[in-house]
């Protein structure tokens, strides 16, 4: 339904909960937990791979206030395993976990669960549990994991639920191969091949609210779980699987969430208090420390990406051959699925390519399990492919923007590497043109020496993502007309700060021609909400938003039908303007909305409530072009992003303010990944275990971020909308890496790029005599 003038959609409306959040209202998990909750904490393994030979809890259990201590002895070691990944049937992530496993597989894996009256007694008990570990050889380098002698999951009750090429006896969590066209021929016929290996690390979502959950037993003896989660319905299944109880006995509710970014698409914290409360029938809660959130959580998959990109001398890209090796860590959460995006959401940017090949392996190691993080594999893939395209441009002495102009995908073209889907809506060409203009690209590219020991330089990157998982993700909405004519919208999608409670209400308000304030929104509760796969995979606006639109349209029809009946006309003779239903022929014959609402609640056998579910057989990609402008100190290597320019095509921005902040926030996370967020394992232990070592950008660390929109119109989306949440994190890494090359003359193939490496690059260039690029050669 396209309208010339929209009243609610595309308007920068305040988030419905904005003032409550800004004023510190007690709306998060820990704020609403009962005060008599048992405190749950976990004893974690100090070894990356070990078997628990003995575990003695006798003394610990005697600490006053301790309610219960659980070890592997309390869990059937031959029972059915489960995954903590929040995914739709058939679950791609292997069933490889037990709540408590005698075999601990990373530093931080759980050896015991302790529950007690207060933190002090629980801490005391944790220190008194005696464990004798039998240390096993760990696999710490993911390049050596496949077919290694040491197996991360040697057990026979490991199960792969879907045909993803997994084999625990080879340390393989997944393997896949796909291609189109003759890639070997395309590469052989190319004038130039960029053949490079890129490495990205297991960076952390670092949402401000750590993982947390509280559990109670309700009136009916059911387990009620209140958790900071993006996926209430998946959570219900995961908890039931973990505890081995019927799903009907579990209810999961999401209050406000203090950020997720994919971290909370895995049930990282839920199963432990669920286990305690189910066993003790007492309320319990777990609050992860920041240390635990940094060392035993669900970060991005570390990947090594081998790109071979073939092109002609004139810049035409002929083919891309990508091999991705992904490190899922000790457990397979999101392992088989993240890796796919590294190829399927990077290669299709280049529409001219006549062939591609994409092969991937996902391996187990004795690192903490990886999970879902905004961008979900596309971020890693785009760092590699976009960096290769930047290198191609400089090898050919061409402007990287010109190489893009020649090769990018356009609306109406087939995208073989994007699951063979059509490019149904795309303003990438306009994004590119606009970002050049905005950033002053032609004047600033590639670099200028500021004469004060500093160099200013620019770099470019493109990005795409998806809008939900094709034919898998499901969004739903229930809309009701209530007394006096206000509406309630019930959803199963999770507003985690993104503002979907508001943006989905905007979609409904547009259809129902009312104010967003006339729509009360509720989400999400597995007992009340309609089924929704959850807020991830950039699905909420495109998939759930469409469900809301369909739902509102049907409710609108039913309001007209009842209104027409009240004034003694047929529905086709009447119109609705949001406030009343009236005769098209004679406006004085009308029924006010409050009258219609009252009629539906008095002597009526027709409730004015509609439930709609929607799934899409395409996943229209949003696109983006980003330019980083850096200022780099030649002596110290200190680099500052003085400006980041971004132009995004998310289709119609349903709420331009919130879309813009999504872009700004995603860009900042991308900058962190490129320049400061490092993950270093030593002996299987993560060194960056707090915000002291793991440096997410502060506001003092960067200049300004400039975001604009160039919108295409996606016919399958609500009012032309696609997604925004993930596409925005992908351009900083390749743009910054190329800007640093333009400044210092050295290519960087690993993230983050540290000041030490940059200073060394400048020093090296001083020594070897200043050959910055091959531009001069050609």
């Amino acid at each position: 339904m396209e309208k010339a003038e929209m009243k609610a959609v595309n308007k920068p409306i305040r988030k419905k909960d904005a003032m409550q959040l800004l004023m510190g209202a007690p709306v998060y998990t820990d704020d609403i937990a009962p005060s008599d909750c048992l405190i749950v904490k976990l004893l974690r393994s100090p070894y990356p791979n070990a078997e628990i030979e003995e575990i003695n809890t006798d003394i610990a259990a005697k600490v006053p206030g301790i309610e219960a201590i659980y070890t592997w002895k309390d869990v059937d070691q031959n029972g059915k395993r489960f995954t903590c990944a929040g995914q739709t049937y058939p679950e791609a992530s292997p069933y490889d976990r037990l709540i408590l496993d005698r075999h601990v597989r990373f530093v931080g894996d759980v050896a015991a669960i302790v529950a007690g009256e207060n933190e002090k007694c629980v801490d005391k008990a944790l220190s008194l549990i005696k464990v004798k570990y039998k240390k096993l050889d760990p696999i710490l380098d993911f390049r050596l994991a496949k077919d290694a002698a040491v197996l991360v999951h040697p057990e026979d009750n490991w199960i792969s639920m879907a045909p993803v090429g997994a084999d625990n006896k080879r340390n393989l969590c997944a393997h896949d191969e796909c291609s189109a066209g003759d890639i070997d021929g395309a590469l052989a016929g190319s004038d130039i091949i960029i053949d490079r290996v890129y490495h990205t690390k297991a960076v952390q979502q670092a949402m401000m609210e750590t993982f947390r959950t509280f559990c109670t037993i309700d009136t009916y003896g059911r387990l009620n779980v209140v958790s900071s989660t993006q996926i209430v319905f998946h959570c219900r299944r995961i908890i039931a699987n973990a505890l081995g109880i019927p799903k009907s006995m579990v209810r999961v509710i999401k209050p406000r969430i203090g950020g997720g970014f994919g971290a909370k698409q895995t049930s990282v914290s839920e199963i432990y208090p669920a286990f305690v409360t189910w066993k003790t029938k007492k309320p319990s809660k777990i609050i992860f420390s920041r240390y635990e959130s940094m060392t035993a959580s669900s970060p991005r998959h570390e990947m090594e990406l081998h790109v071979r990109l073939g092109a002609m001398k004139d810049g035409r890209i002929r083919g891309i051959d990508l091999y991705t090796l992904s490190n899922t860590g000790a457990y397979g959460e999101h392992g088989p699925t993240t890796v796919g995006l590294s190829g399927h959401k990077s290669i299709p940017l280049y529409g001219t390519a006549e062939a591609f090949r994409f092969i991937s392996d996902v391996v187990y190691t004795n690192h903490m399990s990886a999970g879902a993080y905004r961008g979900y594999g596309a971020t890693q893939g785009l760092f590699a492919v976009e960096s290769a395209v930047n290198e191609l441009a400089s090898e050919l002495g061409m402007d990287p923007a010109a190489v893009r102009e020649m090769n990018i995908t356009h609306e109406g073209e087939l995208m073989p590497a994007y699951y063979g889907q059509m490019n149904t809506s795309c303003a990438l060409d306009r994004c590119l043109a606009r970002v050049k203009e905005m950033s002053g690209w032609d004047e600033k590219y590639p670099a200028r020496d500021m004469g004060n020991g500093k160099v200013r330089s620019v770099g470019l990157g493109l990005s795409m993502q998806g809008s939900g998982i094709t034919s898998v993700d499901v969004g739903s909405a229930i809309l009701k007309l209530n007394e006096t004519g206000f509406y309630t919208l019930t959803i199963g999608a999770a507003d985690m700060g993104t503002g979907c409670d508001t943006t989905l209400a905007q979609v409904a308000a547009e259809v129902l021609e009312c104010s967003v304030d006339d729509i009360a929104v509720f989400g999400a509760d597995t007992d009340i909400s309609p089924y929704d796969s959850g807020s991830y995979a950039s699905s909420t606006m495109y998939v759930t938003g469409k469900a809301v639109e369909l739902c509102a349209n049907e409710l609108r029809d039913r309001i007209i039908r009842l209104g027409a009946e009240l004034i003694g006309l047929g529905a086709d003779e009447c119109l609705f303007d949001g406030k009343r239903v009236y005769s098209a022929a004679d406006e004085s014959r009308s029924a006010e909305l409050f009258e219609i609402a009252a009629a539906s609640m008095c002597g009526s056998s027709d409730t004015l409530a509609v439930t709609k579910t929607h799934s899409s057989d395409i996943s229209p990609p949003p696109f983006m072009a980003g330019v980083a402008e850096l200022e780099t100190d030649k002596e110290t290597g200190e680099t500052r992003v003085v400006n980041f320019y971004a132009v995004v095509d998310c289709g119609t921005p349903v709420n331009p303010n919130l879309a813009r902040v999504q872009a700004e926030g995603g860009i900042m996370q991308g900058i962190g990944m490129a320049l400061s967020e490092n993950v270093t394992y030593r002996g299987g232990r993560v060194l960056e275990s707090s915000f002291m070592q793991y440096k997410i950008p502060s506001r003092a660390d960067i200049g300004r971020i400039h975001v604009e929109f160039e919108s295409s119109y996606e016919k399958e989306g609500p009012f032309g909308a696609k997604s925004i949440g993930e596409v925005v994190i992908n351009t900083p890494s390749p743009a910054i890496a190329d800007a640093l090359y333009n400044a210092a003359g050295k290519r960087f193939y690993e993230l983050p790029i540290t000041p030490e490496q940059i200073a060394e690059a400048f020093a090296e260039r001083e020594k070897t005599g200043n050959i910055r690029s091959l531009k001069e050669k050609l």
Binding site: M19, G24, P26, M496, L658, E664, F691, R699
Partner: protein, 152 residues
């Protein structure tokens, strides 16, 4: 040990453990706007005023506040609301978890310097981390607020 603290204008007397941190004391007295985001004094979420000076309540012993007065966001309604509206108008509150600490410290800044430069704003609030917004919308909101304040 026994302490006496004035919290948001109300005198409280309590028997507490000597190692209790101010954040836990305040949360146990219903000041739930005070949030914990780290254990290393890095994130700024737990910012409150101790005798009108912003402090990280995760790093101050409750006993240190004995005989002094503490203000949390719950005690700053009018002043905070006036400013917060400008952040809401940018959509920069996002998940909201860092908001109370950020709002507290921003108010401390405005009290100290009614017309801070962009550089001063960034420097003063550098210790208030936010993972959602990229800070840009917060900066726009602050700039709009200061503009409005000047015109008023």
């Amino acid at each position: 040990m026994n302490i006496e603290i004035t919290v948001n204008g109300k005198k409280l007397r309590d028997e507490i453990d000597a190692d209790m941190m101010l954040i836990d004391y305040l949360r146990s007295h219903g000041c739930l706007s005070v949030k914990r985001g780290c254990e290393t004094s890095n994130c700024g979420l737990c910012t409150v005023f101790l005798d009108d000076k912003p402090v990280l309540s995760c790093s101050v012993l409750a006993a240190r506040a004995d005989g002094r007065s503490v203000t949390t966001l719950e005690g700053l309604r009018g002043e905070a609301e006036e400013f917060a509206g400008f952040i809401a108008d940018q959509g920069a509150e996002q998940c909201g978890f860092c908001n109370p600490g950020f709002v507290m410290n921003a108010i401390a800044l405005f009290r100290e310097d009614p017309s801070p430069s962009e550089e001063k704003i960034k420097e003063y609030l550098a210790g208030n981390l936010c993972r959602c917004s990229g800070y840009e919308g917060q900066l726009r909101g602050i700039e709009e607020y200061l503009k409005w304040k000047k015109q008023k």
